[in-house]
């Protein structure tokens, strides 16, 4: 993770476009300027960034389902539960499953586990739209390579 750059996914472990699931690795850094303020003397991974990690994992799953043709944008959150603290240096596993693929939107359920224990979960709604422009898509391609997105498993990747 590079929290300051919203790079919350380190590696895609498994992307299953038949089961509509994804599993990713996300390692909380030992140090970050974010921890200087959140909180002084007691650094904690901000809950909103845990939500963002679940959204990003879900997002890559949706991108995979669209054959890298569409971009999901976070639209709504339901049933968000932040169950326990996450601290610097912890290794997280984020999983997500698509609950519904609508026309121009998608719903997922996602969760994060640390040492096998669930630390948070949520139901997430995305608007799914065309990539805003070629540069945006090229950037997403770069990110995909960095996090080992299995482009070979995507029909039109």
């Amino acid at each position: 993770m590079r929290l300051e750059y919203f790079q919350l996914i380190d590696r895609i472990i498994d992307l299953n476009l038949n089961d509509l699931t994804i599993r990713v690795e996300a390692n909380v850094p030992a140090e970050s300027t974010i921890f200087e303020g959140h909180f002084p003397g007691r650094p904690l991974m901000p809950g909103v960034l845990l939500v963002e990690a679940m959204a990003q994992a879900s997002g890559w799953l949706i991108i995979g389902r669209t054959g890298f043709q569409k971009m999901p944008f976070l639209a709504a959150l339901k049933e968000v539960k932040l169950r326990t603290f996450v601290t610097p240096g912890q290794s997280l596993e984020v999983t997500a499953k698509i609950l519904h693929e609508g026309s121009g939107f998608a719903l997922t359920e996602a969760e994060i586990r640390a040492d096998g224990k669930k630390v948070c979960n949520a139901e997430i709604t995305f608007r799914v739209v065309d990539f805003p422009d070629g540069d945006f898509r090229a950037n997403m391609n770069d990110v995909a390579r960095r996090i080992a997105f299995p482009l070979e498993s995507v029909p039109h990747g």
Partner: protein
């Protein structure tokens, strides 16, 4: 078995916390009931699930944006229900 309109009206009422008795077949989901696009995603999800279809929202939006149809043709509830019935019938073929 409830009618398509009854099902849709109940979905709208429960999803958007709109009193059921204010929702009529002539209601425009956007102009009369004040449903915004984000709330409509929840409604679309519930309709998709209830009827086993996929409302073609992207196509409808494109048609309206192109000036080839009005929002009334899709979002007045009696018209929305007619389109749902068409989608259900098409799926059954």
């Amino acid at each position: 078995m409830p009618s398509t309109f009854e099902t849709v009206a109940n979905i709208i009422s429960e999803t958007c916390d709109i009193p059921r008795d204010t929702i009529t077949a002539e209601s425009h989901a956007i102009d009369d009931l004040g449903i915004d696009s984000l709330d409509f995603l929840d409604i679309a999800f519930a309709i998709d699930k209830a009827f086993g279809i996929k409302l073609p929202l992207e196509q409808w939006t494109q048609v309206v944006n192109d000036g080839k149809a009005t929002t009334e043709q899709y979002f007045v509830l009696k018209n929305l229900c007619a389109r749902i019935d068409d989608l259900v019938a098409a799926k059954a073929k």
